[in-house]
Amino acid sequence: MTLDELQEIAEREREEAKKITHRVNVSVAAGCLSLHSDQVFKMLQTEVQKRGLDGSCKVKSVGCMGLCAAGPLVRSEPQHTYYRGLPPDSPEVLNAVIDSLDGKPVPEFALSPEIPFFAAQKRIVLENCGEIDPERIEDYIGVGGYEPLLNCIANRSRDDVVQEVIRSGLRGRGGGGYPTGLKWSMVAKASGEQKYAICNADEGDPGAFMDRSVLESDPHRVLEGMAIAAYAVGATKGYIYCRAEYPLAVKRLKVAIRQAERMGLLGKRIGESDFCFEVEVRLGAGAFVCGEETALIASVEGERGVPRPRPPFPAYSGLNNCPTLLNNVETFANIAPIISKGGDWFASIGTGKSKGTKVFALVGDVINSGLIEVPMGIKLRDLVYSLGGGIPGDRKFKAVQTGGPSGGCIPEQFLDMGVDYESLASAGSIMGSGGMIVMDETACMVDVAKFFMDFTRDESCGKCIPCRVGTTQLHGLLERISEGKGQMADLKTLERLGAMVKRTALCGLGQTAPNPVSSTLKYFRDEYVHHIADKTCAQGKCACSKTPAGTAEN
């Protein structure tokens, strides 16, 4: 397919869209699906057909709209209204929604798009999520999809594309924050007959689901980003390494790849040029460490997902010892808009060293839990209290945990800090992939630290000793404290051991594993002291509080 043919399809789609006067978009991402949004979709569609409105009113299944706490979500245009929590088993309510298409929305379920949760967002990665049907490639083409790719191939040199990404200041969204453009230019310059592009969709971080939503809602966006990257660095084969725990994302990805191949937008001779790029989905099998790039590459090769020391970096010697470009889902999803609107436009959003937007999964003790995309530098307080709608039951805020098992807990005193890579690091946490777990006063920080150490202890691959033994020891110490058997000296040991593991572990998993412990020790030391001195847990979460003090159960 050439650029002209693509634009023809897009034009046709837009013409079709003009005939539609009313739109009802129903979210069919996994969150809403588990609340039976598929039934809502079917019933609304049958009702519209029954009334003979299907010429002017379109009921469409779309991806994630973000506010998962209020699912199943429906958006109705031109009413400019969201509907929350529509009951899938009540034809009366759903009929009323259709009845009111031209009038006022049904008040009990209506939700204004003006509320901060929607209004304070800036959507780049998620711009199509909730707008297009993830299983129809024409929908994606209709909103300008695949045009940047074909445009690059037809009119821009490889180096020009790399330079554009460098100019944008985009940094890796998987957690590390390595400048994407730099990585691309390394792979582009590396010598080798065969090069690979891999998309890291092994979202192992518990409490985060950004990648899942993007893959489920807008899979073509990720594929296009990968294809542009492949063109820029000279890769001809790509893999998407996706968790097996996300069956819906895998299914939609496979559908998307097939559609794109059929249209000549992936596979051989893309855009009728001599550029070829084939993509395959590879399933992960539940190993957190496979998010680390060298471990991921080992897993794609069919080996145990164990990291190896770097250098050599994958950019020079990755998959099958060939130069390999590895980026996260969200990073790739940022590429198409950077190419079409320019790197300077992207760089104008965000803060000094952190450009663009970031998608966060806002979960835990917060009213509006869900998926949000905000400009870098937004204040934590705005995230929790404005977009998040505050904490349920008016309880007191205690901490927000970012970066998953590699991150830390950020206490109240940092609420007015802007969120970007540097400031999170200075507060003892990391940006991570974007999980943001809000905890209120009922959370026990020793328990939280123990939870994460249990996780990393279990997920440690066992290759290097600092991580294998260190995480087990750290967990053991925390266990002792939570059982009310701790001693004051244990706190020192925790700190010393944590620092040692951080310094000496082989890969990112080990180096960051002590973060949850060190950050809680730093900001919530009194809770640890309380567990040791009084042998009780003020929040009633730990074993010591469930039996009389001093006689902790085993």
Binding site: G31, S34, P206, G207, G286, A361, G364, S369, I437, F452
Partner: protein, 146 residues
């Protein structure tokens, strides 16, 4: 395996297919995979046991997955798991002796905004309530009420 061209790099894909077809990986199927892909049995076994997703034990008739991701944990998945273990009288990762129900702790199923999440036979139950979970388990296990 033919689909993957009998390449050694397809090992994980093949194991996924085996598990999908038979529910778990047993010795016979692992040996078959090893000889077909021409890789040592030790490596096949190593890979199969390394990843959490692969199970070497036959699954129960029903499957109860409790999400133990951070979002769910903060929302009380730990207590939910304790209750389930008490009702089923087995630990997470085990199957009841009568083979009725397997209890599984998942890392994170990505339904964090609907925490705590429990999955009964592939169907996600958002904001799982202890009462509803207890009822479903009892229906499967067939305990006397109480």
């Amino acid at each position: 395996m033919r689909r993957h061209g009998y390449k050694a790099s397809a090992l994980i894909e093949v194991l996924h297919t085996v598990q999908e077809s038979f529910g778990f990986l047993d010795d016979v199927s692992l040996r078959f995979v090893a000889s077909s892909l021409r890789i040592p049995m030790s490596k096949v076994f190593g890979v199969a046991t390394y990843y959490h997703f692969f199970s070497m034990k036959p699954p129960g008739e029903h499957n109860c997955v409790v999400c133990m991701g951070t979002g769910c944990y903060v929302k009380g998945a730990g207590d939910l798991m304790k209750m389930i273990e008490e009702i089923a009288r087995v630990k997470a990762g085990e199957t009841t002796p009568d083979g009725k129900v397997s209890i599984v702790a998942a890392r994170c199923i990505g339904s964090c905004s609907l925490a705590p999440a429990v999955v009964f036979d592939g169907e996600v139950i958002p904001r799982a309530q202890p009462g509803a979970v207890r009822d479903q388990l009892r229906r499967w296990i067939g305990h006397d009420a109480g």
